[in-house]
Structure formats: C-alpha cells, structure tokens
C-alpha cells in the first residue's frame, strides 16, 4: 500500500512544523507593516505537505492558489526565497527559478485549473513523464473555470490532479452556501473522472490519495479530483476578522483535530519525534525565514523594472512611457 513510511512521515511532519512556524512569523511581520497581505496556512499543513510528498519533484508540477507556498519546501528553498519577495511586493516574487516546477501564487480563484489541464495535456503531447497538481479551495470550485477545466481534463484524459482543499470557509461563506452537493469530490462524476474525499488532517491519507491519483494520471488513465477536508484554523487573510462569522464551538472542535499537533502526538508516541527535535526544527525554520526576508529586502529594485516583462519587444508607446517614468523618478530624487 502506498502509505508513507516512518522516515517519510518524519519528513512530512518536519515540513508541517516549518510551515506552521514560518506562517506565525509572517503574520507578525504583516502586523508590523513589513510585508503585505498574508493568507495563514494554519490547519492546511497536512493536506498541502502530504500531497506534495506524494509527488515526484523532478517531473511533477504544482500550481498553487495562494495559501500553499510555505508548504512547498520539498520543491526547494528557492520557493521560500521567492515567496518572501512576493510578500514584500517585489516583482521578482513572481519568478520561481528554473528548474523548480512550481508556479507563483494565483490570486484569481480557480484560474489555474485550466492552466494545469493545459500543462498536463502539453506534457502528454510531448510524451514527457510527470503530472500536474493544482491546488484550489472549496470556494474556487464554484467558479466556471473549475467546471470547464474539469470537463476538458476528463475528455483529454490529462495527467492532472485537481486538489480541492475544503477548509469549510470561503472567507465568510460556509460550504453549505457554496454548494448543495453532498461533497466537492462528487462533482467529479460530471467530468467522468474519479472523485475522492480524504481527511485532510491526516497526511498519510492525503499522501495515499495523491499517490494513487498520480499513478493513475502517469499511466495515461486521466485525472482525479481529490477533496481534502480540513478546517481553517486562522483568519482567511491578515485582512480578515473570522470572529465575525466562525462559530467558536466549531473552531474549538477543529482545534482538537489540529493536524500539526495530532501528528506530533502520534510520532512522539511511536518514538519518531521529540520536544528537542521540535525545538530544533522551529528554531531553524525561523532562522531560515528571517534569512529569506533579509535577502528579499536586500534585493535591488530599479523603478523602471515596472516596465519590464510585459512584451519581449516594447511597443513604441511603452518605450516613451519608460522614458517619462525615468524622468519623473529623476525629478523625485532631486
């Protein structure tokens, strides 16, 4: 059975603890006015990290929505470095370097789903190995892009995994106002593809679901829709006040099932984790985040980089705008 072994479970927990720890620091940085809006990862760690650990990083793509980047450590340290640039509002924050197969955050909900289908389709046309996993939420599943792309993926048998993290809330809208369907995974039936619901607080269960979906996709049998059910333990973003709408009893019940705490307890019981290890991982995570933050702050930024990367060849009008921008920057400096 494709269960993660003990070593893998330790690595998964390490990545989950790092994500949780770094998310806490990011929240504080936002409150200090040092970075822009942040979407906390709390409660989503097992779903994200468990999924990513079932992929082959050399060949498989991950297209995130926006809550996932801190959980993608397995794809390389550059993901965090780029994410910190992104949080600062630096244009380089959109460029995760080659050859890392991770796209930058997608702010338009569900908009990456057709990209994932097209990318997976393209990879199969080129007979390249690998699959594409696209993250989106329960709210994004109400977008037309989800239905159009899911349908196309089914028709093309594209090697794609549609990974819906159902965290029960789309900002303030609960799932029963999002859909009348029994589950989000049941929507797979309309696409003619398998739909699987998995406990997103259980990284082993998530790993297994993604492992199977990956195997199916890579062998040419087509896509799978996975719904990982979790509970959003924090705010939607730093701009949100969930006490206005999240029932406190529901939140307390969800905190009892906190995926990070649950796995820590489980692995401690089995002698695979310790407080010392926990401290060591947390300390390193904070140092790493601070290092990435410092590096991001020290990354040069030219004002006229605003005009870069729109077209390969600038239009005559853009060239003039670039020059007038430089004039106004020059005047400001004087």
């Amino acid at each position: 059975m494709p269960k993660p072994n003990d070593k893998q479970l330790q690595m998964i927990l390490e990545d989950m603890v790092i994500a949780r720890t770094q998310a806490g620091r990011l929240w504080n940085l936002q409150r200090q006015g040092q970075v822009g809006t942040i979407a906390p990862i709390d409660g989503h760690e097992a779903a994200i990290v468990g999924a990513v650990h079932a992929l082959e990083t050399e060949s498989d793509w991950v297209l995130p929505q926006y809550r996932e980047p801190l959980g993608l450590r397995r794809y390389g340290t550059e993901v965090l470095d780029t994410f910190m640039l992104y949080n600062l509002g630096h244009p380089a924050g959109g460029h995760i370097p080659e050859p890392i197969k991770v796209a930058p955050s997608q702010i338009s909900l569900g908009a990456s789903i057709p990209h994932a289908v097209g990318l997976a389709w393209g990879m199969s046309l080129k007979d390249e190995p690998g699959v594409v996993l696209v993250f989106f939420g329960d709210g994004a599943s109400s977008e037309g892009d989800f239905y159009e792309a899911g349908n196309l993926a089914g028709v093309l048998k594209a090697p794609v995994i549609l990974f819906c993290i159902n965290n029960q809330w789309a900002i303030s809208t609960p799932t029963h106002l999002q859909t009348a369907a029994d589950s989000f995974s049941s929507k797979a039936e309309a696409f003619g593809i398998p739909g699987v619901t998995v406990d997103g607080n259980d990284p082993a269960a998530v790993y297994e679901a993604v492992f199977n979906a990956r195997k199916r996709a890579a062998s040419g049998k087509g896509p799978t829709l996975i719904e990982a059910t979790v509970y959003r333990l924090g705010a939607h973003t730093t701009a949100d006040d969930p006490t206005r709408y999240v029932p406190s009893d529901d939140l307390s019940a969800a905190q009892e099932k906190d995926p990070v705490h649950t796995l820590i307890q489980e692995l401690k019981t089995r002698g695979l984790w310790s407080d010392a290890k926990q401290n060591e991982v947390e300390t390193a995570a904070l140092e790493r985040l601070d290092e990435a933050f410092e590096r991001a702050k020290n990354t040069p930024l030219e004002p006229n980089s605003m005009m870069d990367h729109c077209f390969v060849s600038e239009t005559p009008r853009q060239l003039r705008q670039r020059s007038s921008l430089m004039d106004s920057v020059g005047n400001t400096n004087e």
Partner: protein, 330 residues
C-alpha cells in the same frame, strides 16, 4: 526565393498559413470548437486534422475559458497554441483568462513562463449573423496591457501577419473580418511571407486628407478614396494592420503631411479605438492640423439585428461624407 503569387481569399490565405506554420513548427497545436473534423465553421482550419493528426488539431468542448486557459498551460509546457474562438463575441466567456491570465503571464512571472499564444477569432458585421457574432471588441482588448491585437485587411497581410503572430513570443489576438473571409481576394505570395507586427501600411498615397482604418473598413476607405480622386480630392489611406503595437510614426507622418484625418471603425463610438488614434494625433501633430479629426463609427447601441445592421456598420456614404466635411471645415 520564388516571387510567385496566387490570388486567394482571406480565408484561403489564413488556411494556407496555418498549414505552412504547422509544417514548419512541430510545437504548434491548433485548438478550438469544430476546428478538427469540420475544418472550422468557416473552413479556416480545413485539412489540418488530416495532415497533422488529432494530437495537434483538437476539437474542444464548448468552453471558451478552458480554450484560453488551457492555452496558458500548453505554452507553459513549451508548445505553441493557436486557439480559435469561434466568434469574437464569445470571447467574453474567456475574458478572465485572456485579460486576467494570458496577457499578464509574462509580466507576473517575470518571463519564467512565455505566453507564445495566438488566439484567432472572426468578428464584424455585414453578413447577417445571429446576435453576438458581429461585435467589434478590439478597443476593449486594447485596454489590456500584454496583448497584441492584429487586424488584417487583405489576404496577403492575413498571411504575413498571421505568420508573425504565431511566431511572436507574446500573446496575439488575431481578428479576422467575417465579410473579408470570402469578400476580400488579392495576390498572396506563395512562399513564406512575413509582415512584422506594428507597421502600418500606407495603401494609398494622398495629399489632402488621410483616412485611417483597420480590418474590413480599410477596404471601404480605399473605395471612397479612389472615388474622390475623380473629384479632385487627393485622399490617402493608412491601414494600421495592428492596433497594438500601434505605428505612431506612420500616423504622425501622414497626418502631418495631409493636415486632415478621418478615422473609421466599425465598433461603437464611445471608448472606441478611433478615440485613441485622435488622442495620439493630438499628442504628436496637433499643430499640423487644418481641421478637427473626424471619426466614423458604429453607434452606441448593442450590435443590432440583421434588418438594421446595414444602417449600423459604417459604409462608403458615411465615410465619404465625413471626408468631405473635414475638407470643407478647414
């Protein structure tokens, strides 16, 4: 190089170009509704599926957003998607992918992902289509940075510009006038023919006034200019060929020379691209003007039903009258 030419309709020129580009570049994938077995509802993609197979010529579900959105993914995979939106009016259903994703892909990823994507779509009136099949939406797209917008007026340009569009590393919206598909015929080079994007074409020289236009309205403008010759009015005609990039230099040069200009578009007047041309003339060569620049447009109503469309679309009479008014006013 052979200098041979053949007389082709614009549709035949487009079809021939798709054949030759797909032969040249194995990365090209044609996708859209009815583009495969049916060869396109106008036959623009005829013969492609037979020659290049089902993997490279793909009939998609009726999903404009998924056509545009999956083109992003195909480009990320290193392929060159040439997508068809069956009628430009239905691009509204793909607008969030075209405007929100395709146009910004290079910018938001700082060129990590390269959107070498061409979207072809027929548009424009005069052929009694059902609702939404005739709308001229170019100005709406022109306000989206990151998209090139190409609108040929001849069969030869259709070949030369489509070749450039497909080879361009940036996304290009290639808009084909419905009336021109079979209504426009001219001599098209048999061999490879490349017309760079962003170079307007002064298709008729003149000294008194210039008519500036694009796509099918160029054909009408040319007829008006020719008829005015007999009346002692020397009218130039400038075919913009693409509105993004815009050939500001060519506009400035001919407007400065003539001192009078009329801009003709099929789209509604308010917020149309003609307004952009007039603003450009104001910026570049206002003091060379001898009369206010006129524009001839559709009306500020939704594109009307068939029995009214001949009143809506600018015709030779309206263009002629605008030219004469411009001549008389200054």
């Amino acid at each position: 190089m052979s200098n041979k030419v053949s007389e082709l309709s614009m549709l035949e020129a487009i079809n021939e170009t798709l054949h030759s580009e797909m032969t040249r570049d194995e990365r090209i994938v044609v996708l859209g509704e009815d583009v495969g077995r049916n060869g396109g509802v106008f036959r623009a993609t005829e013969g492609l599926i037979e020659k290049f197979g089902e993997r490279r010529v793909v009939d998609t579900p009726i999903s404009e957003a998924a056509i545009a959105g999956s083109a992003v993914g195909l480009a990320m995979a290193g392929l060159v998607p040439v997508a068809e939106i069956q009628f430009l009016g239905f691009s509204y259903q793909a607008m969030h992918q075209i405007a929100g994703q395709i146009a910004r892909l290079r910018y938001r990823t700082q060129s990590r992902f390269e959107p070498q994507i061409t979207i072809r779509a027929p548009f424009g009136g005069g052929v009694r289509t059902p609702e939404l099949h005739s709308d001229s939406l170019e100005a709406q797209f022109a306000n989206i940075p990151g998209l090139k917008i190409v609108m040929p007026s001849t069969a030869a340009d259709a070949k030369g510009l489509l070749t450039s569009a497909i080879r361009d590393p940036d996304p290009v919206l290639f808009l084909e006038p419905l009336r021109g598909y079979r209504g426009i015929r001219d001599l098209v080079p048999d061999e490879e023919h490349v017309v760079p994007l962003g170079q307007a074409n002064l298709i008729k020289k003149g000294d008194d006034v210039v008519i500036i236009s694009w796509s099918y309205q160029v054909e009408l403008s040319k007829r008006v200019a020719e008829s005015l010759e007999g009346e002692g009015i020397s009218a130039a005609v400038l075919d913009l060929r693409s509105i993004v990039p815009l050939d500001i230099e060519a506009i400035t040069e001919i407007v400065s020379h003539c001192g009078r200009a009329v801009v003709v578009q099929e789209a509604p007047e308010t917020g149309g691209f003609a307004s952009e041309i007039i603003a450009t003339i104001n910026d570049e060569c206002f003091w060379s003007l001898e009369a206010p620049v006129a524009r001839v447009s559709g009306f500020d109503v939704p594109y009307p039903v068939g029995m009214l469309e001949n009143l809506y679309v600018p015709d030779e009479t309206r263009i002629r009258s605008a030219v004469l008014k411009t001549i008389e006013s200054g």
